[in-house]
């Protein structure tokens, strides 16, 4: 490891002063982390932002935790019993669980938390619909009575993607689900210091001494959540070049989202390691507006398929290092249990621009203006949109490609008006790999019309298959349904998968034990 001049001077000064030594030791027990964006909110149920979810996973514990094999295991729960008819779940809490205010975690806290989450989350809303009763017969038992069996309930309660079912004290969880909380008391391995929180600058977490980790080894979000750092500081640095320089200059330990352009520079530094932490990655998605021409015609959507080259999209999004992306990608996250090859040759076979043009000519498309939205302030999305706009033009669409920021785009996406009245035709985005690994939380596959994700397709076949997946008795059955969903997706084209981005992270080699699988986690990691 190189020792810098400033560090040497700092070290000499440290030797001269005992308080300085204490300060250096404290610094060694502090992890300096540069998150992907500013932590603006502290409520992982109210906000769907990934950075808020990451905050939530530090501060709050979950009843169940996902392992690296994508299977859920009890986390706060000791275990559960399901009645023979599958309608009643009794989830038993582990002993010794405490909130950060040292109050014990009781079943009624969990009940209030589950109910609040059920009003906001996509899988929570299923519980809201299927739940007959969520109650706490005693301090350690949560009873969930359902109208129909739901084998995937534990998965829903433990899913790590937004919105997570964060367990909060009852007094906090009673907050209206559409109003954000102000009290950050959780029961996770880290305590959030709201008094030191400066949004846009720094968020500080301290190890929660009373946290009782599980005895099993750390396995992504399951097993022991052993915090080795006394303090974790999230330092917000909006400028990637500055963040990169801070990492190189030992002013930060870990950078969550290094820009692909800066990776060669970082790789040249012997003190820095680059790795993929979020192995589930993010699935690139080209989404259409199904309410208006031209993409309300399935023939127009299908026309694009022979021309889509996922490698082009991935190269633009994350660079030409093939270790950082996965193609071909179907509608489910590659590498996860339901990913399959059914009909995938439609995207993995030889590309044929002429076939796409001919298909478009044969469709109802009559040269209407196609508004392709992009968010110029989000480089990956902007790059995907650039490639998509070029593809649309080459196939023969009349493309309008207005520049806008994310705030404008996400508002415009809510518009159901035609393009002449401020509407839109298509956009690109990415979905967290864990979200789109199963049909239950796979929003781009929903076909429930006005209630669906932006674009609002009505595709009853997909909805029926989703319901069947919820009822699937075993993994083999679930896989069969997933294959059928993928076939239907090629037929109806609710979206076009653009490949899986596996964003790299960069950390100093003095940091070891980074837990891989999904989001950035702060247990297991320690200073060498």
């Amino acid at each position: 490891m190189n020792i810098s001049r400033r560090a040497s001077l700092g070290g000499a000064a440290t030797l001269l002063a005992a308080p300085g030594l204490a300060s250096a030791q404290a610094a060694a027990r502090t992890l300096r982390f540069i998150p992907q964006s500013n932590l603006a909110s502290i409520d992982p149920v109210w906000s769907t932002a990934v950075v808020v979810r990451n905050h939530g996973l530090m501060v709050y514990d979950l009843l169940y935790g996902l392992g690296a094999d994508y299977q859920v295991r009890p986390q706060m729960a000791e275990g559960h019993e399901v009645s023979t008819d599958g309608l009643t779940w009794d989830i038993r809490l582990r002993e010794g669980l405490k909130f950060h205010d040292n109050e014990p975690v009781r079943a009624r806290d969990c009940v209030a938390s589950i109910l609040r989450w059920s009003k906001r989350d996509v899988l929570g809303s299923r519980l809201d619909a299927l739940g007959e009763e969520v109650s706490a017969p005693d301090d350690r038992t949560i009873r969930i009575r359902l109208k129909k069996p739901w084998p995937g309930l534990a998965w829903a309660l433990g899913k790590p993607s937004a919105n997570i079912c964060a367990i909060m004290p009852e007094r906090v969880a009673r907050t209206d689900p559409f109003t954000q909380i102000t009290d950050p008391t959780g029961s996770g391995p880290f305590r959030f210091r709201r008094d030191l929180f400066r949004p846009g600058d720094v968020a500080i977490y301290e190890r929660f001494e009373a946290y009782v980790p599980r005895s099993e080894p750390t396995d992504f979000l399951s097993g022991a959540k052993q915090a080795h750092f006394d303090r974790v500081e999230w330092r917000i640095m909006p400028d990637p070049a500055t963040a990169g320089a801070a990492l190189q200059n030992n002013e930060a330990d870990w950078w969550e989202t290094p820009l692909p352009d800066l990776l060669p520079l970082l790789r040249r530094n012997r003190d820095i390691e680059i790795g993929v932490v979020n192995t589930a990655g993010n699935l690139g998605v080209l989404r259409f507006n199904f309410l208006h021409p031209p993409f309300n015609d399935v023939a127009v959507r299908r026309a694009l398929l022979p021309a889509v080259n996922q490698r082009d999209f991935m190269d633009a999004a994350i660079g030409t290092d093939t270790a950082l992306s996965v193609v071909p990608a179907g509608v489910f996250t590659p590498g996860t249990p339901l990913a399959n090859d059914a009909g995938l040759e439609i995207l993995s076979g030889p590309r044929n621009l002429e076939a796409a043009r001919a298909a478009l000519r044969a469709s109802s498309y009559a040269g209407q203006r196609v508004v392709m939205m992009s968010a110029t302030d989000l480089p990956v999305l902007q790059n995907l949109a650039e490639v998509a706009a070029d593809l649309l033009r080459r196939v023969g669409f009349n493309v309008d490609f207005p520049a806008m920021d994310w705030g404008t785009q996400i508002q415009r996406r809510t518009s159901r008006a035609p393009v002449e009245q401020g509407g839109w035709s298509a956009f690109c985005t990415t979905w967290e790999g864990l979200d789109v690994s199963v049909p239950g939380s796979h929003q781009p596959l929903r076909g429930n019309g006005a209630q669906a994700w932006s674009g609002w397709p009505t595709m009853p076949r997909l909805e029926t298959l989703r319901e069947q997946w919820f009822d699937a008795p075993d993994q083999a059955a679930a896989r069969g349904i997933a294959e059928e969903i993928q076939r239907v997706a090629w037929d109806e084209v609710p979206f076009i998968p653009l490949g899986l981005v596996r964003p790299p992270q960069a950390w100093r080699r003095s940091i070891t034990g980074v837990v891989r699988g999904g989001s950035s986690l702060f247990w297991g990691v320690r200073r060498a």
Partner: protein, 313 residues
């Protein structure tokens, strides 16, 4: 004089009211919706509507403006939509870094630019003059962020003399404080130095051609005395005016500089708030900037009486 000051201070009230109305209307008309940003990618239109209603964003324009203006009149800048923190608290958290950056930049710029301009005027047409003017052109031409990156690369990454980023409060000691401000102040000061140096040179050239300067020379006054006592004081009014106008440049430049050097100041707070459509924060910060600008102009006007005794209010 006091009557003038009171009149000017009172005049800020309608100015601020117009700024408030303008900012509010602009944000109302601008595209983007904080409720959609909060709701995120997965939200249904019903979710967005519920959030919009919970934030009061579904109320009519006049009702919203009236409620906001009433709060402002009572000294309440509102609460951030996203962080749930009072806007005044967020400004309080961020004001010290911006103020520090502006003060250090101002001191650096004035102490470099004024002598540069004076010397360039004195040595008009010489290599020194041309060098000063070349620097001025460079200062105007090179964007702040480029200067910032170059400085960070050379002095932080290569030479390891100064930190790349961040801010240490003054309460932690002078040296840690100034260590974090040297590079940003130089980066931000470039344009400012160029502006003041050019104005100083031009004004000094005009003053140096006046009869009383010739008289001072004829009476045997030394060059230093002519330049810095007789000429500079008479050239001060336009220079001070430019320094005042430059505060606006500093506010604009601070937005970029704070991002490049990760300084948690008001500039970054503004940008973050704009990107998220955090209306109360945007409105609060712009009102503050407007007030500062009005105040600085008042101070500049008052300073004229010091440099030119003929000016009376």
């Amino acid at each position: 004089m006091w009557a003038y000051i009171i009149r000017r201070v009172l005049a800020t009230i309608p100015v601020m009211a117009i700024v408030a109305l303008f900012v509010f209307s602009l944000l109302y008309l601008a595209p983007g919706d904080p409720a959609a940003v909060i709701a995120g990618d997965q939200a249904t239109p019903a979710d967005v509507e519920r959030i919009r209603a919970s934030l009061g964003l579904d109320r009519p324009y006049l009702v919203r403006f009236g409620a906001w203006a009433w709060d402002i009149a009572r000294g309440d800048l509102g609460t951030s939509i996203f962080t749930n923190l009072p806007v005044s608290t967020m400004i309080q958290q961020r004001i010290e870094p911006t103020l520090s950056l502006m003060v250090v930049t101002l001191i650096l710029a004035v102490s470099i630019a004024v002598p540069m301009g004076v010397i360039a005027a004195w040595k008009q047409g010489t290599t020194i003059d041309r060098l000063v003017m070349a620097f001025a052109v460079l200062g105007f031409s090179v964007p702040v962020f480029v200067v910032g990156y170059v400085l960070a690369y050379v002095f932080a990454l290569e030479l390891d003399w100064l930190p790349v980023q961040g801010y240490t409060p003054f309460s932690n000691g002078f040296f840690p404080w100034i260590e974090n401000l040297i590079l940003p102040a130089i980066a931000l000061g470039g344009v400012y130095i160029a502006l003041i140096a050019r104005i100083t040179r031009a004004t000094m050239l005009e003053v140096l051609s006046q009869d009383y300067i010739r008289t001072a020379r004829a009476k045997g006054a030394g060059q230093r005395s002519i330049l810095f006592i007789h000429a500079l004081k008479n050239a001060a009014v336009p220079i001070v005016t430019v320094i005042g106008i430059g505060v606006a440049l500093l506010i604009g430049g601070a937005v970029v500089t704070e991002s490049v050097f990760a300084i948690p100041g008001l500039g970054r707070l503004t940008v973050d708030a704009i990107l998220r459509r955090d209306y109360p924060v945007i409105q609060g910060v712009i009102l503050l900037f407007s007030f500062v600008y009005v105040l600085v102009n008042l101070l500049i006007d008052l300073s004229y009486t010091f440099f030119d005794p003929r000016i009376r209010y």
